[in-house]
């Protein structure tokens, strides 16, 4: 049984726009899946439905053991509370449950390499560091599922590369399931074990591509022939979904 089952999900907005689906997807425990699609294909909507922030119009979300797992969410913007210091931002999820576990907060801050900045305010940090705080906040409540909505899209290329490396390290050591929404082909190929390519609105699955390269992945993976080949395949799928009306939606 898979960790997360998405069955026949559709989303129609109040104004009648069909944003998503129908869409079926099974996600394995501990896997790293990238969801790739053009702007406005409903990939963020899908993530929000999985998180329970928005209801689906049709279909449903199921979890392996029937219980909603602990989830972390990372937005495109760092979305920090500017009046809270780094460690207070990171502790937010725990605090809402009345848990005061400094070791766990400290651990999350260390995992993203910000131990020197635990007492800083967000305004004192660079864009990349703020994003790290955002990730640490998601990690602090020890999520079984980490949902990321184009988290690095606003960062410069070098910072983005660093954060990609660090995200993989954290994922490997912490063992959560990752769903990573992006519109960058190269980012998805670098990070994921599996790339689900969505079509134009309403988003349906155009292709479901496995990436078998072992972790840890580094610079040599980025420069390898296999990397280029998969990137070409993903790009082709993305182009195919650009104007295509996908019939079944099954990958």
């Amino acid at each position: 049984m898979s960790f997360l089952t998405i069955a026949g999900i559709t989303k129609t907005f109040a104004d009648g726009t069909q944003a998503l689906g129908p869409l079926d997807l099974n996600i394995d425990q501990g896997s790293f899946t990238a969801i790739l699609g053009p702007s406005g294909c409903g990939k963020s909507t899908l993530l929000r439905i999985i998180a329970g922030l928005n209801p689906a119009s049709q279909g449903g979300i199921g979890f392996g053991d029937g219980l909603k797992p602990e989830m972390g969410f990372v937005f495109q913007e760092p979305t920090l509370m500017p009046w809270r210091r780094v460690h207070e931002n990171v502790a937010l999820g725990l605090e809402m449950r009345g848990i005061d576990d400094r070791a766990q907060v400290q651990d999350a801050i260390m995992r993203v390499g910000l131990e020197k900045f635990a007492n800083a305010f967000p305004r004192q940090l660079s864009g990349g560091m703020r994003m790290r705080v955002s990730i640490a906040r998601a990690l602090a409540s020890r999520p079984a599922l980490l949902l990321m909505d184009e988290p690095f899209a606003a960062l410069d290329e070098i910072t983005r590369g660093d954060l990609n490396d660090d995200l993989l390290t954290v994922w490997q050591s912490a063992g959560f399931t990752s769903l990573f929404v992006t519109h960058s082909v190269f980012e998805s190929v670098f990070l994921a074990q599996r790339i689900v390519v969505l079509s134009e609105r309403p988003g349906r699955i155009v292709d479901d591509i496995r990436v078998d390269a072992p972790y840890p992945r580094g610079e040599d993976w980025r420069l390898s022939v296999e990397y280029a080949a998969i990137a070409r395949q993903v790009s082709a799928a993305l182009r195919a979904g650009h104007h295509m009306q996908v019939a079944g939606g099954q990958g």
Partner: protein, 257 residues
């Protein structure tokens, strides 16, 4: 350093010029008293002025507190219920745009005959209420929707969302509203007292009316000076509060390096 001292130097210079001109031109004190004469009046009437200042200060602070509680309370209600906002906001605006001087006689007749202090308090509160309400509504409406979602994801209660997100996020606007309301509650208290005349209110405005009736112009100025001092003190106190709350994190309070 010079910029900080500039207002003081200018003020002292103007006072000196005033003193000199009044003496040289021999202006009679019932037209324009010299600063020296005003100081003497203040010293002579000290005890009475002090009582009056405490009276005005009390009405002002009570009105400010009441306006803050009501303004915040209604703003919270408006944020929770669009119907409540649609129903009540127009009336809040009507209350705001109707000149207080024109409402004052009514309130004084309805309430003031039995209890003049209550009438003054109501009038000053009406004047101070709106800036807190409108600023707080703006502040609560500007809360980052993603942070709201995050709080929901973490299973935060309504109170936790209010206390840990909405209140701090709206605090810059709320404090801006309070800063305006602080000055307005003093203005409201004084205007109300002017309308009430000498029918029982014994604040600084009453001192001004009384002294005016007796052509004791230096005493009028003395009360006026104390009113300004009160206004400045309130403004400074609220500026300090704003600094305390915002200086760590808000753009407005951070010095550019």
């Amino acid at each position: 350093m010079f910029y900080r001292l500039a207002p003081t130097i200018l003020g002292l210079g103007l006072l000196a010029l005033w003193e000199v001109l009044v003496r040289v031109l021999d202006v009679p004190p019932f037209i324009l008293p010299s600063p020296n004469a005003i100081g003497q009046a203040m010293w002579r009437d000290g005890a009475g002025l002090w009582q009056s200042m405490l009276f005005t200060l009390r009405i002002t602070l009570e009105a400010f507190a009441l306006a803050s509680i009501l303004g915040l309370g209604f703003a919270i209600g408006f944020t929770r219920s669009a119907v409540l906002k649609a129903a009540l906001y127009p009336y809040a605006i009507i209350l705001q745009v109707t000149p207080i001087v024109s409402i004052a006689p009514l309130i004084i007749i309805w309430v003031g005959i039995d209890n003049i202090e209550a009438a003054l308090l109501i009038l000053a509160t009406i004047v101070a209420f709106f800036p807190i309400l409108s600023n707080a509504v703006l502040g609560f409406a500007s809360v980052d929707p993603n942070l709201r979602d995050l709080m929901r994801l973490y299973g935060a209660s309504g109170f936790q969302i209010f206390w840990s997100l909405e209140l701090p996020a709206a605090s810059p606007q709320i404090l801006a509203g309070m800063k305006i309301a602080g000055g307005l509650s003093l203005i409201g208290a004084v205007v109300a007292e002017f309308v009430a005349g000498s029918g029982g209110a014994t604040g600084l405005a009453w001192r001004i009316i009384e002294a005016g009736n007796r052509l004791q112009i230096p005493s009028m100025f003395a009360a006026l000076v104390l009113l300004s001092v009160l206004g400045i003190a309130i403004f400074m106190a609220l500026t300090a509060l704003e600094w305390l709350v915002l200086h760590n994190w808000h753009e407005s309070a951070i010095a550019r390096e």
